[in-house]
């Protein structure tokens, strides 16, 4: 399907270029190809990111006939490197938008792309060496932890007890957790334990069940991700302790946002970490190619606090996430 849409746009671009020959031969030079390499949709957040990437590409191809896109999704770092090499060798891309599957293995292949004079936009996960990319677009991981931590510090009082569900052990998870701990420091909130729920509903369900058997008093849960929040909520419901504690997830999954819009007391707030950041990256890259708008540098998308009052603005019913 991707291949077909790619060929269609080539055809459209060719027709458009042909139509403009009267006005000038420059039209030929003004068509650009942008390669987009992202991890495949293996969990909710990446599913949302894939959705937004496809959506943005469709929209941009309609708006700018001179742009064409190559989208590749990879299940591991090795496949992603192959995809990028293919894009450079066979598709002759003018710009690359990449969300590195892992930082280290992708660093030198992306460096090679940049050295070939191709514009490089890196999304979300930085490369191991600084200064390779022309544009860096990312969510604010420390901010994600800080905004949640500030809410805990404001809402809870000294001596209140919380438990934390961490994600897959990564730098990204560490940044979030460190910022969260810094934000609650001095508030007197007691963190009973932090275990990894791996951003997975089932794992979070099991870990939360064990927290509930272990601790007689829990006032709040920082689930740090909406998939984990759903698992934790189910374990809490099973224990019949729903009145006792509330849960803060993160990333704004539509089911959670829908429950917040209904005013669910167990879900007081949420923190954004938008999968649509891929749209920001693709849009800016396209803008840089087709216009003289300067787009190099770093674009950090702030993490916002979602409350029942503003939840409507963060509800995307069409997205799978």
């Amino acid at each position: 399907m991707k291949r077909r849409s790619f060929l269609n746009t080539i055809a459209v671009a060719a027709v458009a270029a042909g139509g403009f020959t009267a006005t000038g031969a420059v039209a030929q030079d003004e068509s650009y190809t942008i390669g987009v390499a992202i991890p495949s949709a293996t969990h909710g957040f990446m599913g949302g990111l894939n959705f937004h990437a496809q959506d943005t590409i469709r929209r941009l191809e309609e708006t700018y006939p001179q742009l064409s896109f190559v989208l590749a999704t990879a299940g591991d770092a090795g496949t992603m490197v192959n995809d990028i090499e293919d894009m450079v060798a066979t598709r002759d891309i003018d710009a690359l938008v990449v969300l590195p599957f892992e930082s280290a293995p992708l660093t030198s292949p992306v460096q090679a792309v940049a050295d070939a004079g191709i514009w490089v936009t890196v999304v979300d996960r930085g490369l191991s060496v600084e200064g390779i990319e022309d544009l860096y677009v990312a969510g604010d991981n420390p901010g994600f932890g800080r905004v949640a931590g500030e809410y805990f510090a404001e809402t809870l009082s000294e001596g209140d007890k919380i438990v934390v569900l961490r994600g897959i052990p990564t730098t990204l998870d560490n940044e979030r957790v460190e910022a969260f701990q810094a934000a609650i420091e001095g508030s007197g909130i007691e963190v009973l334990d932090m275990q990894h729920g791996n951003w997975n509903r089932d794992d979070a369900f099991n870990v939360m069940q064990d927290y509930l058997s272990r601790f007689a008093e829990i006032d709040a849960v920082w689930a740090a991700d909406d998939d984990m929040a759903i698992g934790a909520l189910e374990a809490i419901a099973q224990s019949g302790r729903a009145e006792e504690m509330w849960v803060v997830g993160g990333a704004g999954m539509k089911q959670i946002i829908a429950r917040m819009m209904e005013g669910d007391p167990q879900l007081p707030v949420n923190v954004t970490y938008p999968p649509a950041q891929i749209s920001t990256a693709i849009e800016l890259t396209a803008l840089g190619l087709i216009s003289s708008t300067p787009v190099s540098g770093r674009f950090i998308i702030g993490s916002q606090l979602i409350t029942p009052e503003n939840a409507e603005n963060f509800y995307f019913p069409d997205s799978p996430f």
Binding site: T42, H43, W199, R201, F205, N206, D210, S239, P320, F321
Partner: protein, 335 residues
């Protein structure tokens, strides 16, 4: 439950008691360790939690015991469970406008799960027995196929069961009889029936015969292809059954459902004393293996005595130790 089955098996093998009891000893040690570390470990709530969450892998691992005993392997069960769960949710959601929210929709969902499990297992079995492709390769292929199919069905996101229907279906995981949850009851029944099937029936003996030496089994008038396909069909249907117990828990399926279940099931089978190369299987051992694996995770969560980064290390060490102990005893006792 494991106690009753273990004494039953001990009666069958009075001479090799020592090494048969290896996994049971490991399980008892873990239970003692857990009780010592946390007073809540033996509480009713924790025990039922651990048994109920063991049920999915446990039900699948019983089926896996037959496949491995017959000299096969199935890597596709985790993906298959996710795919069956996805199909089941889609089927039930789409039947609601026609049938309304009620028990009949859920019964249809159960039928879909069992039929899908049957077909998936049968496909694996036919490709292996009739087309004669290595079980490892066939199920490696179907593992990828089902995983990507469920991702595709969910459009990369999560498939969620209709909210009202979920409320109706939820008791299948959370309720039970006399405080024993349905998943635990189903797991126990599957384990007992599996043990009987393995020990008391021609099918069980044929599985072991094929696993030990396929040629000899063939010359002994065992219908090798049929038995082999039957082991995969049995496993597929047990995957369907496990899915039936799984879906009411969180009411959803996604690409991350059932990840690595196949390896957990295989590990449980091997810890329990079934030979990976086939020829000998022990269903009650598999049950002990499943409980050992669940208890390790549970104890690590309850105690938080090591960095959570090291959880995988502890699990790996215990799995290998359990098998090493057993092998040494087996070598000393049997040869």
């Amino acid at each position: 439950m494991s106690d009753t089955t273990s004494t039953a098996a001990a009666r069958h093998f009075p001479a090799i008691n020592l090494h048969v009891l290896g996994p049971v000893l490991a399980l008892l040690l873990l239970i003692a360790l857990g009780a010592w570390l946390n007073p809540n470990f033996l509480s009713y709530g924790n025990v039922t939690n651990v048994l109920a969450r063991s049920a999915f892998i446990g039900i699948i691992a019983v089926g896996m015991t037959f496949v491995i005993t017959a000299g096969g392997i199935d890597l596709s069960v985790g993906s298959m469970a996710a795919f069956v769960a996805g199909l089941m949710i889609l089927a039930m959601n789409s039947l609601i406008p026609i049938m309304g929210v009620g028990i009949p929709v859920i019964l249809c969902g159960l039928a879909v799960a069992m039929i899908a499990g049957f077909i998936a297992g049968w496909l694996n079995g036919v490709l292996i027995a009739k087309v004669r492709i290595e079980a490892f390769i066939v199920t490696l292929g179907t593992m990828g196929i089902y995983r990507s199919l469920v991702t595709w069905l969910a459009d990369g996101g999560t498939l969620s069961l209709d909210f009202d229907l979920r409320a109706l279906y939820r008791p299948v995981y959370y309720d039970g009889i006399l405080g024993v949850g349905w998943p635990i009851i189903v797991f126990a029944l599957v384990a007992i029936l599996g043990e009987v099937l393995m020990r008391r029936t021609a099918f069980g003996r044929h599985c072991a015969a094929i696993g030990a030496n396929e040629q000899v089994a063939r010359y002994s008038a065992v219908n090798v292809d049929r038995v082999r396909i039957a082991t995969f069909v049995l496993l597929g249907m047990l995957v369907g059954l496990a899915t039936i117990m799984y879906v009411p828990r969180l009411g959803s399926a996604s690409a991350s459902t059932g990840v690595l279940w196949e390896l957990e099931a295989i590990a449980a089978v091997i810890i329990g004393g079934t030979v990976l190369k086939g020829g000998f299987g022990r269903v009650w051992g598999t049950v002990v293996g499943v409980l050992i694996l669940s208890l390790i995770g549970n104890i690590l969560n309850l105690a938080s005595m090591v960095s959570p980064y090291l959880n995988g290390t502890i699990q790996g060490v215990i799995v290998i130790l359990a098998v090493v102990l057993q092998r040494e005893r087996k070598a000393a006792g049997a040869r």
